[in-house]
């Protein structure tokens, strides 16, 4: 008995919203990074769920790409966070507002 696609979508939406909430409320850059990961993985869930639903592999292959992308993103993100720490003595994203108008 297969689980209905709607549940997957609900799960995905929930994970996405959690990630979004994290981005909108948290101040720590690390938490930001994690929230972005959550949102990416919500998309992955969608991909896999629809792939399963339509019975082809395109979505699954895409989710592999997304994972590779996420890994790269984390590498870049961690680098940014390191620089952030060095320049602002902390990883609070609200501190780093010197490049605005």
């Amino acid at each position: 008995m297969a689980i209905v696609t709607e549940y997957y979508l609900l799960l995905s939406a929930a994970v996405f919203c959690i990630g979004l909430y994290g981005i909108l409320t948290r101040e720590s850059a690390l938490m930001f990074l994690m929230s972005v990961e959550l949102m990416l993985n919500a998309a992955n869930i969608n991909f896999v769920a629809f792939a399963f639903y339509w019975g082809n592999l395109t979505g699954q292959v895409f989710s592999l790409f997304t994972m590779a992308l996420a890994a790269a993103e984390v590498a870049v993100g961690i680098g940014i966070i390191l620089v952030l720490y060095r320049n602002f003595d902390g990883i609070d994203v609200t501190e780093a507002a010197t490049m605005r108008w």
Binding site: L20, F32, A96
Partner: protein, 705 residues
């Protein structure tokens, strides 16, 4: 075989090389660059003589030459406009080349005495200016199209500016130079529009058609205009009638002529131009700058003949200027000022002749005037050297015995200017007046333009009256300068002048006495001998030859005068008596002027009589307030206009631009606040926008039109 025509460009190129040599190497030369100028102008003179002989047919059949030598803008499309530099040589060109190169050669030699011997500084600049001046005038003379003529015309203007302002450290010369430049530029502005108009309308600026083996390969603009008037060709006349448009174009070009030839109302620069060195004045007045305007009218005479209105205006302006300038010359106290006004007056005669259909008379007067006016200016230069650069005639007197060469040559020039038989000016001025008279009578009440004959006679009357004034002021000048007792110590013991002053004076003095012999029309008429050489020179051979090719011959002009302008000759007393009476009247007026001058100023100790003129004197001394009204035009009209335009520019045009920019600046400064620098805010904005977008999609069903 290389003929004379292959060397025509060199006539202008030689003085140009002299210009470069004087400019860059003049300071290493013993005479500071004069050598280059003298050699170059001598070369030009020889080449001009060769060219004239070739045109005359001494080296073969009488020919003309018209070629485009260099194309600097080539039209690509079929029938597109191409701009060329080219050479056109016909008898008029050859004659003018001869005059210009002769006068400038003599002026260069004279400058040795006037500039070098007087220890002037900056001589390389002076000789470079003279060289470029000569070069540009010669280039102007042999131009084969209007645009090329315009370019050299402007170069002539530039050189006059440089030379009039030669003593730029004094106060007067730079201002006079600027005035000369600006006033002539005002006229040239109309000339430029006219050039563009002629190119656009007729598709060519050629003065004469270019032929190859007897067939016309490029038509000239007077030719096209003639064909258009006869309905044989169609041209774009911008909504005007063809006749009207030809008149408009002619008058636009005439603007440049009025400026350069110092005709009313653009004559005001010329008396001020006396601030320049005297040899330069001689060059400007006799052969180059001022002659350029009249020469241009003669060059495109076939075009002006198509418009009786333009002819009438030329005649009227000429006659009026002749009288107007002569009356101002009567009261001047400085030698060169008198000569300046006489120049304006004499060019007025040439314009009068051209306007009344006296082509030969105008060219004749141009020739004789070049000789005797150069002579008078060089003579004045000689007097000025002797007087240690004091030009006031009231400080002179009695110079007759102390400088005989200058006196006798100056007297020859004065007799020529006053128009006393048999000196050059008599023959030419008499012919000018005669042409005006017969064409005035012949056209009276007939012709397409009813007023034409009356206007001609009015212009004739003014010209005739000016003869009296000319005789008077010329001999007032002679008596004050050379006769009577010396009135100052300088005049008691004048500085002697050397060969380089006397040589040119002697050459020109002989010329002033004899050059009139080239066209003694009254004598030719009386004796039946064919001695009107200039007439024949401009007429060309009866059949074929150059006039048929170039259509710049006298035959063609006479036909046009009769057929297009509807001007005919009329003889109120019969042909020969009219000629004689006309000559007698002008001669007796001239003699009358001389006698009045003699009775007023001929004594050993002359006194000023100008006070007797009362209020008229003030008006004349102030040159009829011409300068004042032009200054008023500039300051009272142009400046407020410019201010208003500036206000409009600053307020409206710039205001709109500034308003738009400040609005966007303001909104920008408000909108940039959303760039808070906080990643959270950006993320929130992105989310909200996405939500908004989704809402829009939902409301409009996913189809947004």
């Amino acid at each position: 075989m290389a003929g004379a025509y292959d060397f025509v460009p060199a006539i202008a190129a030689l003085p140009f090389v002299a210009f470069l040599v004087s400019l860059f190497f003049g300071r290493y030369m013993p005479k500071r660059g004069a050598e280059a100028g003298i050699i170059a102008t001598a070369g030009s003179l020889l080449l001009s003589i060769w060219t004239a002989l070739t045109v005359a047919g001494f080296t073969g059949p009488a020919t003309s030459y018209n070629e485009n030598l260099y194309t600097w803008v080539a039209g690509v499309d079929e029938g597109a406009l191409s701009l060329h530099l080219g050479v056109f040589v016909d008898p008029l060109t050859a004659l003018m080349l001869l005059i210009v190169s002769l006068i400038s050669f003599l002026v260069h030699v004279f400058s040795l005495g006037y500039m070098n011997d007087e220890g002037e500084t900056g001589l390389p600049r002076y000789y470079a200016g003279l060289g470029l001046f000569t070069a540009s005038m010669l280039g102007f003379v042999f131009s084969n199209n209007l645009l090329m003529a315009f370019m050299f015309f402007e170069l002539v203007g530039l050189c006059s500016y440089l030379l009039i302002g030669f003593w730029f450290r004094d106060e007067g010369p730079p201002s006079a130079a600027k005035k000369a430049f600006l006033v002539t530029r005002f006229g040239d502005y109309f000339f430029l529009i006219g050039v563009v108009g002629i190119f656009v309308t007729f598709g060519t600026g050629l003065f004469a058609p270019i032929t190859e083996g007897g067939t016309v390969v490029a038509e000239s603009f007077p030719g096209v205009a003639d064909a258009a008037l006869n309905g044989e060709a169609s041209v774009d006349t911008f909504g005007f009638g063809t006749q009207t448009w030809v008149t408009i174009l002619g008058l636009l070009v005439l603007g440049g002529v009025l400026g350069k030839s110092a005709q009313f109302p653009l004559h005001t620069w010329l008396p001020d131009a006396m601030e320049g060195p005297t040899p330069v004045s001689a060059l400007i007045h006799a052969a180059t700058m001022v002659a350029a305007g009249v020469y241009l009218v003669a060059r495109m005479y076939g075009f002006y003949l198509l418009s009786p209105t333009a002819l009438a205006i030329i005649a009227l302006v000429g006659g009026f200027t002749a009288l107007f300038a002569a009356s101002m010359g009567v009261v001047k106290q400085e030698l060169k000022q008198v000569l300046a006004y006489s120049t304006i007056s004499q060019y007025g005669y040439m314009m009068l002749a051209l306007g009344t259909g006296g082509y030969v008379a105008a060219v004749f007067h141009l020739t004789t005037h070049a000789v005797f006016k150069a002579l008078l200016f060089l003579g004045a230069g000689s007097v000025i050297i002797a007087m240690h650069h004091n030009e006031n005639m009231w400080d002179m007197g009695g110079l007759k015995d102390k400088m005989p060469v200058t006196y006798w040559t100056f007297l020859a020039g004065s007799l020529a200017l006053a128009g006393i038989v048999p000196f050059a000016g008599f023959w030419s001025k008499d012919e000018v007046l005669y042409e005006a008279l017969i064409h005035g009578f012949g056209t009276l009440g007939t012709g397409e333009v009813g007023m034409l004959g009356g206007l001609y006679l009015l212009a004739y009357a003014m010209g005739l009256l000016a003869v009296f004034f000319t005789g008077f002021y010329t001999f007032r000048m002679v008596y004050l300068t050379f006769h009577g007792d010396a009135r100052t110590e300088t005049a008691e013991d004048p500085e002697p002048v050397r060969w380089n002053v006397k040589g040119p004076l002697a050459v020109l003095g002989i010329g002033a006495a004899t050059v009139g012999l080239i066209n003694m029309k009254p004598v030719a008429e009386l004796t039946g001998a064919h001695i009107d050489f200039l007439h024949k020179w401009l007429m060309g051979p009866e059949e074929g030859g150059w006039p048929a090719v170039t259509s710049t011959g006298l035959h063609h002009y006479e036909e046009l005068l009769h057929d297009a302008a509807h001007v005919t000759a009329g003889y109120p007393l019969g042909e020969t008596p009219t000629l004689l009476v006309s000559a007698l009247v002008s001669l007796s007026l001239a003699v009358g002027g001389v006698l009045v001058a003699r009775s007023l100023y001929g004594g050993p100790d002359p006194v000023e009589h100008t006070d007797r003129l009362g209020g008229v004197k003030t008006v004349l001394m102030h040159n009829y307030y011409q300068d004042e009204y032009q200054v008023w035009l500039a300051q009272g009209v142009t400046v407020p206009l410019a201010r208003a335009a500036d206000k409009f520019d600053q307020g409206v045009v710039d205001g709109v631009v500034n308003g738009i920019s400040s609005v966007s600046l303001f909104t920008g400064s408000r909108f940039r606040r959303i760039q808070s620098g906080l990643v959270t805010n950006y993320a929130a904005l992105m989310t909200l926008s996405l939500v908004l977008l989704l809402v829009v999609f939902v409301v409009f069903g996913g189809v947004v039109n």
